[in-house]
């Protein structure tokens, strides 16, 4: 009863801050906020939609004062459970703070609110000949705030860097409710690189309420090509050879046979369904360089056994190839009800070896695996297909994932390249880092704040009450469905 009163008064207080229409709390509505794009699920008690920095600060202060867990959320497209309210509590959704406050073409930067959609920023910058580089596959829907939290990557980060290379300054609400600017519009700020620490902190150090990001000039020329391989091994060799040759394409992506099977159902695109793998390669820059580099890339691809190389002839062709790539992950929904997406990174010279071992592991567990990933960065995305309704599969898929992460680390790689540790990978931090290494990270967290209820149980498995690893929760099965 006491809990109920506390909950009611909490809701009342939140309504006082943002207005009743922007506070959701019914059981039905909470179901809609129990997930993100990953396999993690957990119900919050209340979801609040602030529209100003001050409101965010008030909400954070309130949560802190009543000792209730609080979790920031953007569009909920994250792939590591960063926005999942593991311990319940308040979910702060930033989607209403979606204004692009300024685009400064002379200084090539933009100031945005956290709920701005990644692609919208590039669209708004386009008339100035500029764009925002990081392009996660979910860029049509994901938010800049979420990108900052996860240090998101994307296909075109190979040549131009990930989110952290494009963020100059952040206005953040710290876990105790204090509002502070980290960095700013200038490239060089004296002092520790707090902006660099905050980017990729997975929403554990505070909530972004404004971001100043760099914009980059749109390349005058771009060429997109698809190299088709019978064998995935040959495709892997081609990737290593391209990187070793000293050409850094704007993007260098691999799509395997299983993924192609799903993609061709989803998008009208000519990826040959009998191929073992295709490489989607983009070279951009000055037109003379693009010509030369794309010829060099083509030659390498052919030398290493590409049976066919197609070049996108029109902007529409190019768009289709990319739409297929960016929709590839979700298209896997056509093959299975669930997928567990891994995000390991390996040295680029080890791709072939690692992909083989990934295949072996999934065979052993009797799971199909679809690989679609940023090959040029060595950033793998093995997607293990499964069905959560079949007893035991949810557990076994995590075990298979653990083995794959182990392999990545063994060859000198790491457990996550762009999705974040979040929930299900935190048990694997110890594969990569010693207790002292992790303690150093915790010192960083403690320097930002010591509020334990702020986005709890993410990244580190050492916090109390969180448990070592993380299991897929089994939701209560209340018998037959209540549809007629």
């Amino acid at each position: 009863m006491a809990t109920k009163t506390k909950r009611t008064s909490l809701i009342g207080a939140l309504e006082g801050i943002v207005g009743a229409e922007f506070v959701l709390h019914t059981p039905e509505d909470m179901v809609v906020f129990e997930y993100d794009g990953s396999i993690g699920k957990s119900l919050p008690q209340v979801v609040v939609f602030p529209s100003t920095t001050e409101q965010v600060a008030q909400i954070v202060r309130l949560a802190y004062s009543v000792d209730v867990p609080i979790v920031p959320r953007g569009a909920g497209t994250g792939l590591s459970g960063g926005a999942v309210a593991v311990k319940g509590g308040i979910v702060v959704t930033l989607t209403r703070m979606n204004r692009i406050l300024e685009i400064d073409p002379v200084n090539r930067q933009a100031t945005v609110e956290p709920g701005v959609i990644n692609l919208h920023l590039s669209e708004q910058a386009e008339p100035h000949g500029l764009y925002y580089v990081p392009d996660p596959s979910s860029q049509r829907v994901c938010t800049i705030g979420g990108n900052v939290a996860e240090n998101s990557g994307g296909p075109h980060c190979l040549a131009y860097g990930v989110t952290t290379n494009h963020v100059l300054g952040l206005e953040v609400v710290l876990p105790d409710g204090e509002v502070v600017w980290l960095g700013g519009p200038l490239e060089d700020m004296p002092g520790y690189d707090l902006t660099g620490l905050f980017v990729g902190s997975e929403g554990t150090l505070g909530i972004v309420t404004k971001a100043i990001v760099k914009l980059y000039p749109i390349a005058e020329s771009v060429r997109t090509l698809v190299a088709v391989y019978e064998e995935i091994d040959d495709a892997s060799r081609a990737v290593s050879a391209i990187i070793a040759s000293g050409v850094i394409p704007a993007a260098l992506e691999m799509i395997d046979k299983v993924t192609i099977e799903a993609v061709v159902q989803a998008v009208d695109v000519e990826y040959p369904s009998d191929a073992g793998a295709v490489l989607l390669i983009e070279v951009d820059g000055l037109k003379e360089a693009v010509e030369q580099e794309s010829e060099a890339v083509e030659a390498i691809c052919r030398d290493l056994g590409a049976r066919e190389i197609r070049v996108a002839e029109t902007p529409e062709d190019r768009e289709r190839l990319w739409a297929a790539r960016k929709g590839a992950l979700a298209a896997l929904g056509r093959l299975a009800p669930n997928y567990y997406i891994l995000d390991g990174v390996v040295p680029r010279s080890r791709l072939m070896d690692v992909l083989r071992r990934v295949g072996e592991i999934c065979d052993r567990y009797d799971f199909r695996v679809a690989n679609v990933f940023h090959a040029g960065d060595g950033n793998l995305h093995p997607n293990i297909l499964f069905d959560e309704r079949i007893p035991g599969q949810s557990e076994r898929v995590l075990e298979a994932g653990a083995e794959i992460m182990q392999v990545c680390v063994e060859v000198g790689g790491t457990i996550t390249g762009e999705h974040g540790v979040g929930l299900e990978k935190k048990g694997f931090m110890s594969l990569v880092f010693s207790p002292q290494d992790i303690a150093a990270m915790e010192k960083v967290r403690d320097a930002f704040s010591s509020v334990e209820t702020f986005n709890p149980c993410k990244i580190f498995s050492t916090a109390k009450g969180c448990g070592e690893g993380w299991r897929v929760p089994t939701l209560p099965d209340l018998g037959p469905g209540s549809f007629l």
């Binding site: 200084n107 600017w181 200038l186 004296p190 000055l286 540790v421 150093a440």
Partner: protein, 452 residues
């Protein structure tokens, strides 16, 4: 423990021949503060031993690479041990096919790039006196130069780091793969921390392919507006210069003389574009830049012979630091590109009114302006003038929304000014970071922002 005992213990830890003899201690003075002892450990394990000793004895420890940036930062509030990294100069791993290298902190930038160059690769970070400047020092000081326009700075290249923390533990951050979001970005914590959080012992870098062409185009202008108009046009014309720098006449004459390129003495402002990445794009960019420079009223000049090209950029990076005309003070203002004109004029006006000769060297797109302050008529600079200049420049820069830092100056000027300037509200977090990582204040105490 007495000084003698400390030296003895260190000699025991690293070998007596790797502790500097007393008569050399003065060479390791930092801002006039002479250390009690100077030690050169062989590896991370010995660094950890030294740190443990310092911690146990409450001694202040300051890492020393090539000693090229020791005039940076505030004067240390204490200095007991200088830890030299010169024995830690190995390349631990370089897999060319991965474009990644792991090196010890004491390797010099020149050594590293020479080795990488044999594989057609490079670490595209600029640092003055690269034959002496070490990787550890470059990271700690966050040194950058002209090529930051296209390659970024240390924070964009450092993908992994090992450092010894205040407990003497060897801590790893990041890894050796080019994308990595496992945990917090510890490498970013170390970049620019000026030896105040730990001793960097090992660094892993994402490398770049070496350019296959070397070519620069210079433009001389009579008016600043013309030079900036041309720079703006270059940025908007779809060109992809590697560097886009501006010099005033004083700075340019020094650079040109050292590099052996024409001095164009009838011009007052100079643009320098590095357009050398590959042969296919050089000619077209040179032509394009030539048209832009000419249209803006400038006179253009191509530097495309390999030796002259390298000499020019090297002289630009080294400007004021050693060589023929070391400057008693170098300042750095960071601001928006759009505010640079006003600041450049401000520097020159101040130079005139205070009878100081000032070289201005600007990384345009980054909005970073170096003021190289020479004394009047090449004589010893009037220190009072320099001290006044700092106050004036800081005020002017901050009025433009910029930040002003004294990058190097002599001990007496340093005692009179705050080289960093007042920290902002985010300083509370920085202070807590220092407390978390170095509660006993043994690492370079007092040298960083806000007296950290």
């Amino acid at each position: 423990m007495t000084t003698t005992n400390v030296a003895q213990t260190l000699a025991h830890l690293v070998g007596a021949e790797h502790v500097a003899p007393d008569d050399q201690l003065a060479r390791y003075a930092v801002d006039g503060v002479v250390p009690q002892t100077v030690v050169f450990p062989a590896d991370a394990g010995q660094v950890a031993d030294v740190v443990k000793l310092a911690r146990a004895e409450g001694l202040a420890l300051l890492p020393w690479g090539g000693g090229t940036a020791m005039a940076a930062g505030s004067a240390p509030e204490r200095l007991d041990i200088v830890l030299g990294t010169r024995r830690m100069g190995r390349i631990l791993e370089h897999e060319p096919a991965d474009l990644v290298a792991i090196v010890e902190a004491g390797i010099t930038l020149a050594q590293l790039n020479e080795a990488l160059g044999r594989h057609g690769q490079m670490l595209p970070i600029d640092a003055p006196r690269s034959e002496r400047a070490t990787i550890g020092g470059i990271l700690a000081a966050n040194t950058s130069g002209p090529r930051r326009l296209s390659y970024g700075t240390s924070r964009d290249h450092l993908i992994g780091v090992r450092f010894v923390d205040a407990q003497g533990e060897l801590i790893k951050g990041g890894g050796k793969v080019v994308k990595n979001v496992a945990g917090y970005d510890i490498p970013k914590l170390l970049v620019g921390s000026l030896g105040t959080l730990g001793i960097i012992v090992e660094a892993t870098f994402k490398l770049a392919p070496a350019p296959r062409a070397s070519s620069a185009i210079l433009g001389g202008f009579r008016e600043l507006d013309q030079a900036l108009e041309a720079a703006q046009a270059v940025l908007q014309a779809g060109m992809r210069p590697v560097a886009l720098d501006l010099f005033n006449a004083q700075a340019y004459q020094v650079v040109a003389a050292r590099a052996g390129v024409p001095t164009l003495s009838d011009r007052r402002y100079f643009l320098a574009l590095d357009v050398g990445t590959q042969p296919a794009t050089v000619k077209r960019q040179v032509d394009q830049a030539h048209r832009i420079i000419t249209k803006a009223g400038g006179k253009s000049l191509v530097v495309d012979e390999g030796t002259a090209y390298r000499a020019f950029w090297r002289a630009a990076v080294d400007l004021g630091r050693g060589g023929e005309r070391p400057a008693p003070m170098i300042t750095r203002s960071s601001m928006l590109f759009s505010d640079l004109a006003s600041s450049i004029h401000g520097h020159e006006a101040l130079g005139e009114s205070s009878h100081l000769e000032v070289g201005v060297h600007v990384h345009l797109a980054a909005g970073v302006l170096h003021g190289v302050w020479w004394g009047e008529a090449n004589g010893p600079a009037d220190e009072a003038m320099l001290i006044d200049a700092v106050a004036t420049l800081r005020k002017a820069t901050e009025n433009l929304g910029g930040r002003f830092v004294v990058e190097s100056c002599g001990p007496s000027v340093k005692r009179a000014v705050d080289v960093w300037g007042p920290p902002g509200p985010e300083f509370a977090i920085m202070r807590r970071l220092k407390e978390q990582f170095d509660p006993g204040r043994i690492f370079s105490p007092g040298r960083f922002v806000g007296g950290l």
